[in-house]
Amino acid sequence: MSDLRELYQELIIDHSKRPRNFKVLEAANRKLEGYNPLCGDKITVFLELEHERVKNVSFQGSGCAISTASASVMTESVKGKTLAEAEALFDIFHQMVTGKPPDAENAPELGKLAVFAGVSEFPARVKCATLAWHTLRAALQGKGDTVSTE
C-alpha cells in the first residue's frame, strides 16, 4: 500500500474527484486539445493571456485520476504566471515526473506540484501526468493543432 500512497496521495485523489477550474473559459483567447491515444484521455485547455501573463486558465475533458488531478493542480499553479515562468514550471515538473534532477539553477518552487513526485516510480503513468502540461505549453507557444502524447 505504501507505494500506492506515494502515487495516489490525498491531494491527488481530492483534485481528481473535485477538479479545480474545470470549466469552459468564456474569455479564453487560446484553446487547445490534448490527446493520449494509448488510453483515450482527452483534455481541452483554455487560456486567457494578457500582456504575456496567464490571466486565467481552465480545462475540460476526461481522464484518469492522475491526468485529471495533474491538470487541476496545473491550472492553480500557472494562474498569474508570466509565459516564461509557466515554461519554467513545465520544465521542472517534467523533470520531476520523469525522475531527472532539475537542470535549471534558479528552478521555481514546485509547491503543490510536488505531490506528483511519486509518478516517476510508475513509468506507465508519466504520460497521464504530463498530458495537460504538454497541452498547456503548446497553447502558450501559440500552436494550433491538437497535441498528442504519441
Binding site: 507505494d3 500506492l4 502515487l7 495516489y8 485523489i13 474527484k17 494509448l38 488510453c39 483515450g40 484521455d41 482527452k42 476526461s62 481522464g63 484518469c64 485520476a65 492522475i66 485529471t68 510508475f122 506507465a124 503513468r125 497521464c128
Partner: protein, 423 residues
C-alpha cells in the same frame, strides 16, 4: 484412476488426453511461477497474449540448438530436418482447424497480416466502386482498418452490423445489410473487448445464400474452443500464434484452395516462385505462393508444439474449465458494488470487461499491478466498441485455462483495494 483418457480422433489417430488438473497445468508454464512487486503473478491479460508452456520454449530452443537451417532449399541433412519440422507444423495447424488440406494453411506474421493478405490479394480483385463490405460493430481495429483502406481505394462502402447492449451480434440487422452490392463479409468469431461468441455458422449461411464469401477473425476463438473450418464453411479463417500459447510473430490464414489458387501472390521474393527469368516468373503453387522470403521458421515450429500441447489436454476439457471459470468471474466481479460489466452475451469466451464507478480504468490497472495482477486497460484496439458503450476505456480481465478461482478471488480483492484507495 487413469491419468489420461484415450480417444479416437476424426482422422483415425489415437489421441491421449490427460485428466484436466489446473495445478499440474500451471507447472507447465514457467512464467506463472514468478512474482511481481513481491506478490505472486496473477496473469489475466490472455486476450492480449498468452504465456508459453515449457514444451513450446523447449521446442524453439531445440530448433536453434540442434536443427537450425534455412528451409525448402539446402540438399543437406539439417535443412531437410528444418523443412520437415516446419511442414509438420503446417499439418498440425491443418488438423487443428480441421481444414481439408495443408495446402490451405498459409503462415503469416499474425492474424492482422492474414486479414491484410486477403484484403490485398482477394478484396482488391473482387471489389468495385459502389460495392459493399460488411463487418460488425465489435471488430478489432485489425478487421476494420484494412477494409477501410480497401473501400477508400475502390470507392466502395463499409457497412457495420450493430450490436445490442449485451454485446450480441444482431442477425436481423445483418440480414438487412446483405444486398447484391455486398461482396465480402468479415467478422470476428469472438470479440476481444466483450467476449461475445458471434453466430458465425448462421452468418456464413446467410452470406452464402447470396454467394458472398466470409472471412472470420479467429484470434480470440481458437484458444478457447474447437474450431472446424469445414463445418463453418467460411472462405477464410485467421488466427495468431501468440494468443494460442505459441511464439509471437507467427499467424495463420486458412483459405479455401480454389480461392487461394486464383489469387495473385501477396509479396514477391524467394520461396514463392517455381521459376524466374527476366521475361517471366512462374509462381509456386499454394501455400508457397503466399510465403515469400525466409519465414519465421521457429515461430511455425513453436506453434506446432503449442498445438501438440493443447491436443494433449483437449480443447473440450479446456473449454469446459474456462466456461466454469468465466461464469465464476462474471458473478464475482459483477457482484462488487459500483462495477459495471460490459459484454453479457449469452455465449461468451474468456473476457470480463468492466468499469468501476468513479475510477478510471488506468487507475484500476495501476493499483491491481501493485497486487501482482495484470489486466488490460484502455480501448483494446476496439474504439468503436468504447463509443458504443459511451466510455473512453474499459478494464479487461481475460482468462486462460491455467487461471484459477483463487486468482479471480485475488482480482476481486484487488478491485476492493482500488475502492479503498479512492475512498
Amino acid at each position: 484412476m487413469n491419468s489420461a483418457t484415450e480417444l479416437l480422433a476424426a482422422d483415425g489417430r489415437q489421441v491421449r488426453h490427460r485428466i484436466f488438473d489446473v495445478r499440474t497445468i500451471r507447472e507447465d508454464f514457467p512464467l506463472l511461477k514468478r512474482q511481481v512487486h513481491g506478490k505472486p503473478l496473477v496473469y489475466l491479460d490472455n486476450a492480449a497474449t498468452s504465456q508459453k508452456p515449457q514444451m513450446v520454449i523447449d521446442t524453439v530452443n531445440r530448433y536453434y540448438a540442434e536443427e537450425n537451417a534455412n528451409i525448402h532449399r539446402g540438399a543437406y541433412y539439417l535443412s531437410e530436418k528444418a523443412t520437415q519440422a516446419y511442414e509438420d507444423a503446417r499439418v498440425k495447424v491443418q488438423r487443428f482447424l480441421h481444414a481439408p488440406s495443408e495446402r490451405e494453411i498459409i503462415f503469416t506474421r499474425s492474424v492482422t497480416e492474414a486479414i491484410n493478405l486477403v484484403m490485398h490479394c482477394y478484396g482488391r480483385k473482387i471489389l468495385n466502386a459502389g460495392d459493399e463490405v460488411i463487418i460488425s460493430a465489435m471488430e478489432h481495429h485489425s478487421n476494420i482498418v484494412p477494409w477501410q483502406i480497401l473501400c477508400e481505394e475502390k470507392g466502395a462502402i463499409l457497412r457495420v452490423v450493430p450490436i445490442d447492449d449485451a454485446g450480441e451480434f444482431l442477425l436481423d440487422e445483418f440480414a438487412k445489410l446483405l444486398s447484391p452490392k455486398t461482396k465480402l463479409v468479415a467478422v470476428t468469431h469472438v470479440s476481444n473487448a466483450l467476449g461475445t461468441i458471434t453466430p458465425v455458422r448462421q452468418i456464413v449461411d446467410m452470406a452464402h445464400h447470396r454467394h458472398i464469401p466470409v472471412l472470420i477473425d479467429g484470434a480470440q476463438a481458437v484458444p478457447h474452443f474447437e474450431v472446424d473450418v469445414q463445418e463453418l464453411d467460411c472462405e477464410f479463417y485467421g488466427f495468431s500464434g501468440h494468443k494460442l500459447y505459441g511464439p509471437t510473430g507467427i499467424g495463420i490464414l486458412y483459405g479455401k484452395a480454389e480461392l487461394l489458387e486464383a489469387m495473385p501472390p501477396y509479396q514477391g521474393g524467394g520461396d514463392m516462385i517455381r521459376s524466374v527469368t527476366f521475361e517471366k516468373t512462374i509462381y509456386a503453387p499454394i501455400p508457397s505462393k503466399f510465403e515469400a522470403g525466409t519465414p519465421h521458421i521457429e515461430g511455425g515450429i513453436g506453434l506446432g508444439a503449442a498445438i501438440d500441447y493443447l491436443e494433449g489436454i483437449g480443447m473440450e476439457a479446456i473449454n469446459a474449465y474456462e466456461q466454469e471459470l468465466l461464469a465464476y468471474a462474471m458473478k464475482a466481479v459483477g457482484a462488487i458494488p459500483g462495477v459495471r460489466i460490459f459484454g453479457t452475451a449469452r455465449e461468451k469466451a474468456g473476457v470480463i470487461s468492466f468499469s468501476l464507478e468513479g475510477v478510471h480504468p488506468h487507475d484500476i490497472a495501476t493499483i491491481l499491478d501493485q497486487e501482482g495482477i495484470a489486466i488490460r486497460t484502455g480501448h483494446h484496439c476496439a474504439q468503436p466498441v468504447m463509443e458504443r458503450f459511451g466510455v473512453p476505456a474499459m478494464a479487461r480481465a481475460s482468462l486462460a485455462f491455467y487461471n484459477t478461482k483463487a486468482e479471480i478471488d485475488a482480482l476481486v480483492a484487488g478491485i476492493h483495494k482500488v475502492k479503498e484507495v479512492f475512498g
